[in-house]
Amino acid sequence: MGFFTAETQRTRRIDQRACCVLCAEVYGKAMKTRIAVILLLVPVALLAQAPKDISRGYKEVCDRLVCQCGCNEQLSVCAMQNCSSATPMRAEIRDRLTNGESVEKIVQSFVDRVGKKVLSAPTMQGFDIAAWIMPFMILCLGLVVVGWIVVKMVHPAPAVEAAPIALDPRVDKELRDFEEES
């Protein structure tokens, strides 16, 4: 008898006993204490036997790793059936998560084995940082330059408000049309 089957039967016995005890109120105070202990233990025991929910960790690892078959897609994206790279990688990830390994450890083990190209995004180390920083540096630089240009170009006109108060709605409308169409 395998471990899983034996554990399941044990849990079932505890469950049945708890159920019987619940039905009988003649056991007295000591029995009530036992019931309380059992009631507390049952969910704990059941939780211990429940299969681990690895879906979140699995998704995270599959998003962070790239299939090595040449498609250059994330593991979560490569849709090739029986892909020579994605299928064994996914199976390994599933097994290792089930065995309780952390997401970081699994990702690192793939990096150690395949290299940084297995990661779907640059790391935050060494030259890779440039990938992350550069767009935001350009944004900051652009904001400074555009801000400087705007301030430099500003020469307030005598008119206070751009949209003039319409002296005559028709004239206003016609001028607007003319501006838009010409």
Partner: protein
């Protein structure tokens, strides 16, 4: 027929090269007849390329497998529709389609302007023909679709070879969206050559007012629309055919289409400032040069093999020619710009920092930074290989992390921009304009927080979506109310007439609303669910509120492919909503390549997306991958609304032109329907 096709291509190249020199010499000598002959040569070149196109289509339809392109991209059992699509199913033929579209656009431009811009047109023709000649030369000498297959014997002798059947069209391309996606995308890429040519023409002739911009407004909008449509069709194809549950994967080729669209968007906005204020002239020239070059860069990415992509053609010999061409165009454009800098000065100063002009500048900045981020991420693996000696992958996590904040800033400006007046906005009017958008978006934000939504970007995005929507609704409502009051129209009529009277402005707002819809759709990504299971008929799996019960498995055979198809009843909360049949096809050509046909149950709330991944190794069970993708519907709806809005802005303004003419002739006070918007 292949010899005829080759001759046509060679003739077209000769004509286009002649057109370059004749137009420039004609302009230099101020000889109108020489310029005309250049224009005629350009049009003749278009006809010649059309003949070459007809030749290759004939070869494809008649399945002449002695021609390498036909043997590589088609096969006997391919339906006629896909035989025609096989033209762009491989590199050589797609290049021919590219030059054909370029030549047609050039011919249309020449015909449209046969009596206008006579000073500028020789340079416009020269630029168009330089572009055409470059691609024609590549097509003729390095990537010729009319090349014949030959067999090489061990003693070195060559013999013509005709296989019994072709390799067939890539099965992934045998989908309606993929048939129309490449031509539409090409038209988008290529179309930007027209405003670019006019910009260079304007620089050459020192006519740097807004004439070239007004003339090319539609020539900018149409490629922008086509490029956007092409991107969306590509997304739809990826979603329905590739079977991974998404529609955008930040692939280098996808990115290379997005980049010119982003700079094109910036250009479309900044030209408005030049038209109204005579400002940003240098900026606009730079933007259109960048947009054109990014289009060429996209072709370079697709055809050079410099970065790996599932969409790229496996051909690397063209890369260096593209690089030389891009550098030459950039250098030439920059030289002209620097030389003409004195003519590119702003005609007016900026009246205030708080103005719509400033908003446009910041909008341009964000669009360009988004473009740079995409470019940087796309090319970083190449750069990393140069610097570190090892290639790295830059995939969706990078692009999402970098572009989501920039995209949200852009969304914010989409709402804020229209709240600013031209020239100057007082703080009092700003407060008034911001009031309702701020209140309503704050309510949405609080509601989302109360609903315990914990994704920061989703909360910000949906809040901003509300903000932008309210500003757009306000714009329509205020102006319509005045129309209703003054012209006695009902609300619907008022909105319709308002839009038709000022198509550019209100069409633009419709496009902005489409952007809101697309952003709403994008937020759904944060809540995607997926699950997979091996089932046999009678078994079921669960995903979210859906129960998927497999009731049957069917197999079939067509001339082109064999298929397997599980029949699945989808229940939502216990109620049968649909019987779904995801399909897996194994094609008889192309080394037995397989594709998936997704089964989709789409609602505005969410898509139930089923993929049949295939049978298990023992063939007894069938793997079903299920995805629940919320809000995807809004992405496609947004694309449709964007198409609609852009079409409105493209409609001709005959009535408006008539009104303007009347104003000029002093009849202005006879106009009815007075409308004034206070802002």
């Amino acid at each position: 027929m292949s010899e005829f096709g080759n001759f046509c291509l060679l003739l077209a190249l000769c004509l286009s090269v002649y057109a370059i020199f004749a137009s420039l010499i004609g302009a230099w000598l101020k000889q109108h007849r020489i310029v005309r002959s250049a224009e005629h040569a350009a049009i003749a070149s278009c006809f010649s390329i059309a003949m070459a196109l007809v030749s290759i289509l004939y070869l494809l339809i008649t399945s002449d497998f002695s021609v390498s392109h036909v043997a590589n991209a088609s096969n006997r059992d391919l339906p006629l529709f896909y035989k025609i699509a096989a033209l762009w199913g491989a590199h050589d033929g797609s290049m021919l389609l590219w030059v054909f579209i370029t030549s047609v656009f050039s011919a249309i431009v020449i015909y449209q302007n046969r009596y206008r811009f006579r000073d500028m047109m020789p340079y416009v023709v020269a630029v168009l023909m330089v572009d055409l000649s470059f691609f024609l030369a590549l097509n003729l000498f390095l990537s010729n679709p009319f090349n014949r297959l030959v067999r090489v014997f061990p003693n070195g002798t060559l013999q013509a070879f005709t296989p019994l059947d072709g390799r067939g069209l890539n099965p992934l391309l045998q989908y309606w969206a993929m048939v129309i996606h490449p031509p539409i995308l090409y038209m988008g890429f290529i179309g930007f050559v027209v405003p670019f040519a006019f910009a260079i023409g304007a620089l050459a002739t020192k006519q740097l007012g807004d004439a070239w911009i007004r003339t090319t407004r539609r020539w900018t909008l149409v490629p922008w629309l086509l490029l956007g449509t092409g991107l969306m069709l590509g997304g739809k194809w990826a979603y329905v055919v590739l079977g991974w549950g998404g529609y955008w994967g930040w692939d280098p080729v996808e990115n290379s289409s997005l980049m010119p669209w982003l700079t094109g968007t910036a250009f479309l906005h900044s030209v408005i400032v030049q038209e109204r204020k005579g400002m940003l002239k240098v900026w606009n020239v730079l933007l259109i040069v960048a947009t054109y070059l990014l289009g060429v860069f996209g072709t370079f990415i697709t055809r050079s093999g410099v970065v790996s992509s599932v969409h790229a053609f496996a051909d690397s010999q063209l890369g260096k020619y593209f690089l030389v061409y891009m550098v030459a165009i950039l250098a030439g454009s920059l030289y002209l710009m620097i030389d003409r800098l004195q003519f590119l000065k702003s005609e007016q100063p900026l009246d205030s920092v708080l103005s719509r002009e400033s908003a446009f500048l910041f909008n341009n900045l964000l669009l360009l930074v988004a473009c740079f981020a995409v470019f940087w991420g796309t090319m970083f693996p190449v750069l990393s290989e140069w610097v570190q000696g090892s290639k790295i992958t830059v995939g969706p996590p990078f692009f999402n992390n970098v572009n989501i904040p920039i995209g949200l800033f852009l969304l914010f400006l989409t709402g804020v921009g229209p709240l600013f007046a031209w020239r100057k906005t007082s703080l009092a009017s700003l407060k008034k304009a911001f009031l309702w958008p701020t209140i309503l978006s704050a309510i949405v934000c609080v509601a989302l927080l109360a609903a315990r939504l914990d994704n920061f970007y989703v909360i910000v995005c949906l809040t901003l979506c509300m903000f932008v929507t309210v500003t757009i609704v306000e714009e329509f409502y205020k102006a319509s109310r005045i129309r209703m009051k003054n012209a006695g129209e009902n609300f619907l009529m008022a909105v319709t007439n308002l839009t038709l009277k000022n198509k550019r402005r209100y069409g633009g707002y419709i496009v902005h609303f489409a952007i809101v819809l697309i952003f709403i759709g994008l937020t759904g990504n944060a809540f995607n669910k997926e699950s997979s299971a091996f089932l046999v008929p009678g078994e079921q799996m669960q995903i979210g509120r859906y129960t998927l019960k497999m009731v049957d498995y069917q197999e079939g055979d067509t001339p082109n492919y064999q298929y397997g198809m599980p029949v699945i009843q989808a229940y939502k909360d216990g109620r049968l909503i649909r019987t779904m049949k995801p399909e897996k096809r194994v094609y008889k050509t192309g080394e037995g390549q397989s594709t998936t046909v997704v089964s989709l149950h789409s609602t505005p709330i969410e898509d139930l997306y089923l993929v049949f991944a295939g049978p298990s190794n023992d063939g007894q069970r069938f793997e079903i991958k299920a995805h629940v993708n919320p809000l995807v519907f809004w992405v496609w709806l947004g694309a449709a609304v964007m198409f609609f809005g852009t079409i409105i802005t493209l409609l001709p303004d005959r009535k408006g032109a008539f009104a303007s003419a009347r104003i000029l002739s002093g009849e202005s006070l006879k106009l009815e329907e007075p409308v004034s918007v206070s802002r």
